[in-house]
Amino acid sequence: MDTVRLRRGLTTLSFLAPALIGIGVFFLYPLLSAVYFSFTKFDLLTVPQWVGLDNYRRMADDPFLLQAVRNTLWMVVVFVPVRILGAIGLAMLLVRFKRGAGVFRTIYYLPALVPPVAATIAFVYLLKPGTGPVDHVLEKLGIDGPLWFNSPAWAKPSLVLLGLWAVGDLMIIFLAAVLGVPESLYEAASLDGANAWHRFRSITLPSIRPVILFAAVTGVIYTLQYFDQAAVAGSIASGQATVGAGISQSFGYPEGSTFTYPLWLYTVGFRYSALGYANALAIALFVVALAVTVILLRRAKAFSGEES
């Protein structure tokens, strides 16, 4: 009996060994170092100096932090659901295609293959207020285009638009999930007189619930670490031709509307060289993100029964 259990345990361990080593070396060790640094004054050049909770206290009255938190929250609340709805919509459209499915799939996936920096550049130029191609088209339709990346009210929605455009990777996952639903279920429902919407609600939706959970969790993670697009959009839209040098002046352009938490973290750490404070910000972000994920998984478990 005991040898059976031991053998079982060793088999399980053999499956997990690489991942466990990876977690130790590339996660636990650097994370603990980061926690230590968050209690220090540290600029990479001198030895870290213990300052206790100073870095965490500093967060309480940091106006930039407040703005960054607000923008990031906005992105989580709007961007994550929009991305999921967009991906499901595309998957439901594509699942009906027999001929030409490969071409449409490739075209919808195409944007996800564009390097994020290049994609952002293209979007800022396409959405140039007044003179850009999109505003040209809107003008022909008799619509006054907004200022897009140059307006504080429209900058974040423009980023969401950019994200929706590059939703192909999520779309493919949903497509695989939808295709995995047994055809017989649909046939049975059709015989019972269920229309397309009924079939979607009572067959497709419950079947893809684990994938929706997956999309929600990864979406939150992705949004909380949102950096490249916000940084590049700000610097290009503000008229700076170069991306990289002097980037922090344009962070959050216009009027701080695209200033996200990771942007502030980067500025503090790598522009001001306040690595202690940057690490405190990072640990705080990590803790909050973790809490959100755990809550999501808990709630999902209640209705999806995914622990089979």
């Binding site: 079982r8 997990l16 650097p30 295609f97 996952i173 940057a278």
Partner: protein
């Protein structure tokens, strides 16, 4: 009697309805396709302008300059970057899959104490902002003298990737337990069950995870910037692209030309891979 009269009428109505739905579906799909392609087409158009025109907000080249693509090869060692990128993305993808699949299988299908706790840890790893671990990890690689090479990017792939494990676990959860029980009753050990039963069924999931990993590595900018920027011999395409912005004052036409060149292999790979992907799905036996 009335039924016999009704049938042909409803059949025509039904056929008309199907045709309308077909037209609606294709119109929406094509309209969306145009919207999805436009920004990419715009990048291509930019790549064919003079560097002066590329700075304006024009979107149609006054004069066409396909030689921009040759200029990219003259000004940067693009084939060399390509080789490094293939090396990084290829090996990292294969190693990541090899180390992540068993872990995902254990988390999805094996019962052991602390399974849920371990799954939470995997999610923690995904949640960790890369900036948090940058400094300690960099110092670690520097201690072993491996900075300036691709090693710090490839070696971690031997030890699984959290996102990949998470993705594969979610996928493996959808495989009915009866298949595994059947294999176990037949006397298969867990490893045999994984290799012989689960792996063929999980092909689409593994293909998806592999593609994501490959595309991620191919476009990865942060990793190569951190570890290889000091040694141009180890640069990847993404770093090469960025060098246009810093070394040469911004020639947007060349930047976009290089971007298009870097994307092209991915588009080809995806076009062919997605067919295998769909085929894998139809082969899994879920369909009925």
């Amino acid at each position: 009697m009335t039924l016999a009269l009704d049938r042909p009428v409803t059949a025509t109505v039904e056929r008309r309805r199907i045709r309308l739905a077909w037209i609606a579906r294709h119109s929406i799909a094509i309209a969306l396709a145009i919207m999805f392609v436009t920004p990419v087409a715009y990048l291509v158009l930019l790549s064919l302008m003079t560097s002066d025109q590329a700075l304006t907000s024009d979107y149609w080249p006054n004069t066409w300059h396909p030689e921009n693509y040759l200029k990219v090869f003259e000004t940067t060692p693009l084939p060399h970057y390509l080789l490094n990128t293939v090396l990084y993305a290829g090996t990292a993808t294969v190693l990541t899959l090899a180390s992540s699949v068993p872990a995902a299988y254990a988390l999805a299908k094996l019962k052991f104490r602390g399974r849920n706790a371990l799954f939470l840890v995997v999610i923690c790893v995904m949640m960790l902002p890369p900036q948090v671990v940058t400094v300690p990890l960099y110092l670690m690689w520097a201690r072993y003298g491996l900075t300036g090479s691709l090693a710090p990017l490839i070696i971690p792939a031997l030890f699984g990737d959290a996102f990949c494990i998470f993705l594969l676990r979610q996928f493996l959860l959808t495989i009915p337990g009866e298949y595994l029980d059947a294999a176990r009753v037949d006397g298969c050990g867990e490893w045999r069950t994984l290799l012989r039963v689960v792996l063929p069924m999980a092909r689409p999931g593994i293909a998806a995870a592999g593609l994501f990993q490959f595309f991620y590595c191919w476009n990865d900018y942060y990793g190569p910037l951190l570890y290889t920027s000091e040694n141009e011999n180890s640069w990847t395409l993404s770093l090469g692209l960025a060098s246009f912005r810093t070394v040469h004052h911004v020639d947007w036409n060349l930047v976009t030309a290089a971007t298009v060149l870097a994307m092209a292999p991915l588009i080809v790979i995806f076009f062919f891979a997605q067919r295998a992907f769909v085929q894998g799905i139809t082969l899994t036996g879920f369909k009925g």
